[in-house]
Amino acid sequence: MEDAELAALAHAGDREAFGELVRRFAAQARRVARAVLGSDADADDAAQDAFLAALRNLGRYDPTRPFGPWLMRIVANAATDRRRRQKVRTAEQISPQTPSPGPRPDQVALRLEFHSALKAALQSLPERRRIAVVLFDVEGYSHQEIAEVLNIPVGTVRSDVFHARRALRSVLAEWKNPKEEIV
């Protein structure tokens, strides 16, 4: 079933349809919120707030347009609002990961170190660039859709993606050559 159909059913009170929408977009919403917020717990709270806000405002959704950008706009706003409200910036967390039986412990450590460096590079970018590059390169949204999410011109989106890529690519290149397997 299409997202727009599910949204219409959810708006009419069908909780199963809303559940399906949440399942479809949960991972994406959490990633976008994580791109904005340093803390994973805060990001999940923001993503949850965004889903509930979307549920309340389903009547405003235009079913002739894609649902994803509409929802991601709410997610980005919820995360940005939460970040603004934070008085004390929380220390950056490295999510605890249980080493899988496959890679050796040193590879796991390297991967965590690489992830930490990439995350730090992402967090050092201006917020809008972070959202733009994640939506474009991770989630596959078009420049036009990202422009709608961020409410900025398409040209600005292209510029944001370009600058974000250049910064992140430098981290990727630094880690890629000597440690080919960790990415």
Partner: protein
């Protein structure tokens, strides 16, 4: 293949690296949390407030109360004005035949009377 920052296509390598960094564990638990919160907020989102329920019942409730009141007053007034007739009407079958104006011969007979006989007695009475 290396993707230039100018490239308008998706940079898969960078995208996958960012995905690995940003993806969270246990989406299922997150979804359950969101749906639980949505359930808690169901009155705000799906349901109606208690005063809306009461107001929906108010109109039929008032109509039913008014109808009952009217019916009660009607019965009470009719009871006040026609109480004598109704008592006589109820008492007739219990009264002795003579008092009710019917010949006792009709009730004393073992067989049902003929129609002509009844008419004659009534006319004669």
């Amino acid at each position: 293949m290396m993707v230039s920052p100018f490239d308008h296509r998706q940079d898969r390598e960078l995208g996958e690296a960012l995905r690995a960094v940003l993806s969270a564990d246990d989406d299922t638990r997150f979804v359950e949390g969101v749906l639980a919160r949505a359930g808690e907020l169901q009155d705000d989102v799906y349901g109606v407030a208690w005063w809306e329920v009461l107001s929906a019942w108010a109109r039929p409730g008032l109509v039913a109360a008014a109808a009952g009141l009217i019916a009660g007053i009607t019965i009470w007034l009719s009871g006040m004005s026609g109480s004598t007739e109704s008592m006589v009407a109820l008492g007739d079958p219990l009264m002795p035949a003579d008092e009710a104006g019917l010949p006792s011969a009709l009730f004393a007979a073992s067989q049902p009377p003929e129609l002509n006989e009844v008419l004659a007695l009534v006319m004669g009475n």
